[in-house]
Every structure is written in structure tokens, then in C-alpha cells.
């Protein structure tokens, strides 16, 4: 488990990270979302030790992360970087060897990983000859080649087409399933919603929300329901404990004061006409996001 405790960091008089604390559990994908300039990349750099925090600690399984630990981290920086003139396969194998893998293991691991990421045919091509999307895949291979203990990915999906997103998703999920903590940031909230187990929301350098996806959703789900009836739903307006927000003939969107009121409404609806739809209104991640960063 990777844990950040009260991380603060300033650049000059700009306080970029304010008491940032959260955990990344092993075997779970943790999504890290926030607007531009919210502090995601700075936080990731602090985790990787590329940037030192002014105060606060980063711990792995309870003990402070050392530079030796960090060599077993996998990192995909926000601004992609590989040697443009080096061959893809050779380059990923080189990074593996820098992490201490024997040459033969590094090569076979690089080939296998690139193959899974759909670059099997391009091993001998230079990085600069690849399309941006393919360079991105190579970048993911660079973060994964040494079987890291912890994986930190800054915007791993930006610039990928939907099929590539699926490929990368599968590879990352397989990786997380082996038990390592995975932290990734993304602007694409729909992907985060599908992929992450846990969620950390940062805005203006401070953590606004954190927890499992279900938990956050439950916290931000209002007691709000939708109903679609065959007949008129006008009787809802007079029902005790119900506040109707939208109304259109048989359709209504309404808040209730508690769960029993909702059940009562449903019983009455079934008794009066046929019910086509009755469901709690679950907020999307985008809605939650907008709400917490407000």
C-alpha cells in the first residue's frame, strides 16, 4: 500500500500541494482526477522522488519510500519521453536492464509486453517512426517492463483511440490483479469511471474527495428518483415527504425525505397504473467531480 501523508510543496510563493494525503491500495486501480493545474503531476513527481516535498512523507507498506524502493516503481511521465532514434524493442529492453534485469530476460519481457500492447510488428522500428498513439503504447511498456512494485501513470489514455484504450486497459487490469498498487490520472472521466476501483479527486492542490468508487457514489447520490408511469403522475405533488423537481405527464423526477417514502411512492404507483420505470438517479463520475471541485 502506498500512502501519502500531508504532502506540501510550493514553487516560489505558489502553494501547489496543500496537505495532500491519500492511499493507493495494492491490487486496486486508483484513479486520480482533477482539472488542469490541480496538482496531479506534481503529486506524482513527489511519489516518484523526482521532486522533493517541502513537508510530508510518502510511505510504502508503512515505511518511508527510499530511492532503492523507487527503482522498483513504474512511471509514465506526463510528457512522454523515449529516445526518438532508438528501436522500440531495444529501448524497452534497455530500460529493463537499467532496472537490473538480465539482458535475455529484459529482451523477452520487452518483446512480450510490446506484443500484448499491439506493437509486436514494430519492435525493430525507431520510436520517432511510430504514430503518437503507438509511442504512447511503447511508453506504457517502458513503465511496465521491470514488473514494478508500484505503478504510477500520468494520463495513460490521452491520445489513444478506443481500441487502443481497450488494449491498454486490459494490460493494466491484468497488472493490478497481481497485487501492485496502481495510480493513474486521467481527464477522461468515463474511462476512469469504468476502470478505477478507488478514486482521489484533487482541486487547487487539495484533496477534495477520496475513497472507493461505490463509496463516493453512495456519498454523492441524493435520495432522488425517476419514475415513468403509464398514466398521470400528478398525485406525486401531494405525497408527503416528496419534492418534485421535474414533471411531464407520466414522468417525474423527485427527491424523497427517506427510503421508506420512496417505497411508499412505488407501492402507490403500482396500485394506480403500470410502472414503466422506477429508479434511483445515480450520479455519473463527471457529476460527482463537478460537485466536489466546486
Amino acid at each position: 500500500m502506498l500512502e501519502l501523508q500531508n504532502i506540501n510543496r510550493s514553487f516560489g510563493d505558489r502553494h501547489v500541494l496543500k496537505d495532500v494525503s491519500f492511499t493507493v491500495e495494492g491490487g486496486r486501480m486508483t484513479g486520480f482526477v482533477g482539472g488542469n493545474g490541480a496538482g496531479k503531476t506534481t503529486t506524482m513527481r513527489v511519489i516518484l522522488g523526482v521532486l522533493a516535498p517541502d513537508t510530508g512523507t510518502v510511505t510504502l507498506d508503512g515505511s518511508p519510500v527510499t530511492s532503492a524502493d523507487r527503482t522498483a516503481f513504474g512511471y509514465m511521465p506526463e510528457e512522454r519521453g523515449l529516445y526518438p532514434k532508438m528501436k522500440v524493442g531495444e529501448q524497452i529492453a534497455y530500460l529493463g536492464r537499467l532496472h537490473g534485469m538480465p539482458a535475455a530476460v529484459a529482451t523477452s519481457r520487452a518483446d512480450e509486453l510490446l506484443d500484448r500492447l499491439g506493437l509486436g510488428e514494430r519492435l525493430g522500428d525507431t520510436v520517432e517512426s511510430l504514430s503518437l498513439g503507438n509511442q504512447q503504447r511503447a511508453q506504457i511498456a517502458a513503465a511496465l517492463v521491470h514488473d514494478p512494485d508500484v505503478l504510477v501513470l500520468d494520463e495513460p489514455f490521452s491520445g489513444l483511440d478506443p481500441i487502443a484504450v481497450e488494449t491498454v486497459l486490459t494490460v493494466l487490469k491484468d497488472f493490478a490483479a497481481k497485487g501492485a498498487p496502481v495510480l493513474f490520472s486521467s481527464h477522461q472521466l468515463d474511462i476512469v469511471e469504468r476502470l478505477c476501483d478507488d478514486l482521489v479527486v484533487i482541486a487547487d492542490g487539495a484533496i477534495r474527495a477520496r475513497g472507493s468508487r461505490e463509496q463516493l457514489r453512495a456519498e454523492h447520490t441524493l435520495p432522488r428518483y425517476e419514475i415513468q408511469l403509464d398514466g398521470d403522475a400528478g398525485w406525486l405533488r401531494t405525497e408527503a415527504g416528496v419534492t418534485v423537481l421535474e414533471f411531464d405527464g407520466g414522468y417525474a423526477l423527485f427527491d424523497v425525505d427517506d427510503a421508506q417514502t420512496a417505497q411508499r411512492v412505488l407501492s402507490r404507483a403500482i396500485a394506480t397504473s403500470s410502472v414503466e420505470k422506477f429508479a434511483p438517479r445515480v450520479p455519473s463520475l463527471a457529476q460527482i467531480f463537478r460537485e466536489v471541485i466546486r
Binding site: L48, Y94, A142, D147
Partner: protein
């Protein structure tokens, strides 16, 4: 999950150095320019061999008793003709450089006929010269000294610039493409720097060594053993000085390059270092006969790789002087590498505008 043991300093440095060398050897422009340099060196050695081994004799036309006298001198290529007029004709159509004809009116009994100027070498060949004693003889002739100084200066300059720029570009390439962020999570920054310096120094050293060998073998093959014996020790000193001198330059180049984030800013950032590299080349060409300046150059670390071998060649250096100068160079190199490593570590992650040198030195 396997946790790989991160390689320790030396193996990791070797990996980085290996990559630097492999990428450079794959560069076609590098291979071609090295080939051209080798051919140039070999070519000049061979040309020097031919002109040195077969000095062309001065051609003279001689008549009658003059023939024996002319041949006796041993430095004239004599053509015997029947009459003075025939001899004059040969001089006029420039088949012969001069004519020697018997002349009873002359005190020596001969007249030397030239075309448009008195043929000095013919006259001196026929003259009796007094014994000459030089109190402070120049050990090597000035022209050869000039050629050798250009040789050392040029080779040092070219190799230092070529590999200095390679190392600087490679530092900025890593910064610009941000691959450095990934590398830094794998190995300590010092490994990156050491690997770069080692890789490029080896390449530069290899190139210099190859040039020295080509020059040496070329001289032997063209029968210039004497010249080789003359110049050999200074070439060896040159190679030794270059090896350490380049490590110092490599540290300077990489440290200054780490201050910028884009290739576009590189040239201006490294121009002070480039000037330092250019200085010995220009100084040695201008002042190769000035003992004081070459003497100073032979101890200043930046110019010692050119200055000291030059003095060894000229024979103006005592036996211990190259060793002393080498000691100075080594101490200076160690200091530069230490400072360079600090600047490099601090400069590496600062993206964007050029980092001020003082800032890079200050923060650790």
C-alpha cells in the same frame, strides 16, 4: 512478483556508456566523418613520405670539364651536352634549371648560367663553404614544427568538438524528450553522467588512438622511420593527455548542456566551453615557435593536451615536465567532474528557461 536488484554503480554506468557508444556507432554521419579523417591523416603521411624520400635534384646541363665537377657535388642531376649554346638552349626551354660551362676568364674556371635569377642551389653546390658552428641549434626545422602543431591542434579540436557536442546533445535529448524522468527512477543521476562521460570519452579516445596508429603505421610503411622516432613520443603524450583532457571537457559539456531544455538553446549555452576548446588550437597555430606561450599552454589544463606534446616534440620540455602537467590536469579534471556532477544533478529536472549556473551550483 520478481523484484530485480538494481545494478550497482559500475554495471549501470557500463550500460549507459554502452548505449551511448552503440547509438553513435550507428550514426552514418559519424562513421563517414571518421573515415574521412582517417583518410586525410593517411594521405598526408603518404604525401609527406614521397616528397621526403625522393627530393628532386636540381637539373643542370654541363659542358666538357664542368661535367665531372658537377657530378662530384652529388646533389645535381647532370645532363652532358656538347656546346655552351646547347646548354643555354636547355636552360631557356627550362629542361635544365641551370647550365655549367667552362670559362677560362672566370676565377673558378666555370660560369653558371641561369634563366632569370642566380641559381643559388647550384652555386652553393659548387662553392667551398666555411665550417659553421651553431651555439644554440634549433632541433627541428620550423616548417615541420608548424605542421606538427597544426596536426595536434586540429585533431584535438575536431575530436573535442565532435564528441563534446555529441555528449551535450545527448544530455539535452534526454531532457527534451523527458526520458530522463524515467531514467532517474531507474538509476541515480550520477550513473547517467558517468555513463555518458565514459561512453563518449571511450569513443573519442578510440578515434584519437586510431589516428595515432594510422599516422604511425603510415610513417613506417613509407620509410619515415626517422620522423616517427622524432614525433613518436609526442604522439604518445598527446594520446595520454587527450584521454584525461577529454574527460574534463565531457564533464563541462554535459554540465552546461543540463542547464537548457531544448536543442535550440544548446549552442549558446555551450559556447563558452567551445571557446575553451578552440583556444589551444588557435594559440598553437599562432605561437608554435613562441617558447613562453607554448610553455604556459603546456601547464594550463585546457591547452595542455596540445601544448605539452608540442614541447616534447620541440625538445624544450624536461623529462619531468609532462608528468607534472599531467598531474595538474588530473587534479583539475577531478575538480571539474565534481562540480559538473553537481550542476548536472541540479539542472536535469529544471525544464523550460535556461537555468542560471549559479542556481545550479547553489541548490543541492
Amino acid at each position: 512478483m520478481t523484484r530485480y536488484q538494481t545494478p550497482s554503480f559500475l554495471p549501470a554506468t557500463r550500460l549507459v556508456a554502452e548505449r551511448e557508444i552503440r547509438m553513435k556507432l550507428r550514426s552514418r554521419s559519424f562513421l563517414i566523418s571518421t573515415g574521412i579523417l582517417m583518410l586525410l591523416v593517411l594521405g598526408s603521411v603518404i604525401v609527406a613520405g614521397f616528397t621526403g624520400a625522393n627530393p628532386s635534384l636540381t637539373k643542370v646541363a654541363a659542358v666538357g670539364t664542368a661535367v665531372a665537377v658537377a657530378e662530384e657535388s652529388g646533389v645535381l642531376d647532370v645532363t652532358e651536352v656538347g656546346t655552351a649554346d646547347e646548354a643555354k638552349a636547355l636552360v631557356e626551354d627550362e629542361t635544365a634549371d641551370a647550365a655549367i660551362v667552362p670559362d677560362s676568364a672566370s676565377e673558378t674556371g666555370f660560369t653558371v648560367i641561369g634563366l632569370d635569377a642566380a641559381p643559388g642551389d647550384v652555386i652553393s653546390a659548387l662553392s667551398i663553404t666555411p665550417a659553421v658552428e651553431l651555439l644554440d641549434p634549433a632541433s627541428t626545422d620550423a616548417f615541420l614544427a608548424y605542421i606538427v602543431s597544426i596536426g595536434f591542434g586540429l585533431v584535438f579540436f575536431m575530436a573535442a568538438i565532435t564528441f563534446g557536442q555529441t555528449i551535450a546533445q545527448s544530455v539535452v535529448e534526454e531532457k527534451q524528450t523527458r526520458v530522463v524522468e524515467i531514467l532517474m527512477t531507474a538509476v541515480p543521476v550520477r550513473v547517467l553522467l558517468a555513463g555518458k562521460i565514459a561512453g563518449n570519452s571511450l569513443l573519442a579516445f578510440g578515434q584519437i588512438l586510431a589516428i595515432a596508429i594510422v599516422a604511425g603505421v603510415g610513417m613506417l610503411a613509407t620509410g619515415q622511420d626517422l620522423l616517427l622516432a622524432d614525433i613518436g613520443p609526442s604522439i604518445i603524450w598527446f594520446v595520454v593527455f587527450f584521454a584525461f583532457g577529454f574527460i574534463m571537457l565531457a564533464a563541462l559539456f554535459s554540465a552546461t548542456a543540463s542547464l537548457v531544455s531544448r536543442q535550440e538553446d544548446l549552442a549558446s549555452a555551450i559556447s563558452p566551453v567551445t571557446t575553451l576548446v578552440m583556444a589551444p588550437y588557435i594559440l598553437i597555430i599562432l605561437f608554435n615557435t613562441n617558447d613562453l606561450i607554448v610553455g604556459i599552454m603546456s601547464y594550463v589544463p585546457f591547452s595542455a593536451p596540445v601544448g605539452m606534446p608540442m614541447r616534447v616534440f620541440l625538445g624544450t620540455a624536461e623529462w619531468w615536465e609532462p608528468w607534472l602537467s599531467l598531474g595538474v590536469l588530473l587534479a583539475f579534471t577531478a575538480a571539474i567532474v565534481a562540480v559538473g556532477a553537481r550542476v548536472y544533478e541540479n539542472g536535469l529536472l529544471r525544464m523550460g528557461a535556461k537555468v542560471k549556473l549559479l542556481d545550479a551550483l547553489k541548490r543541492s
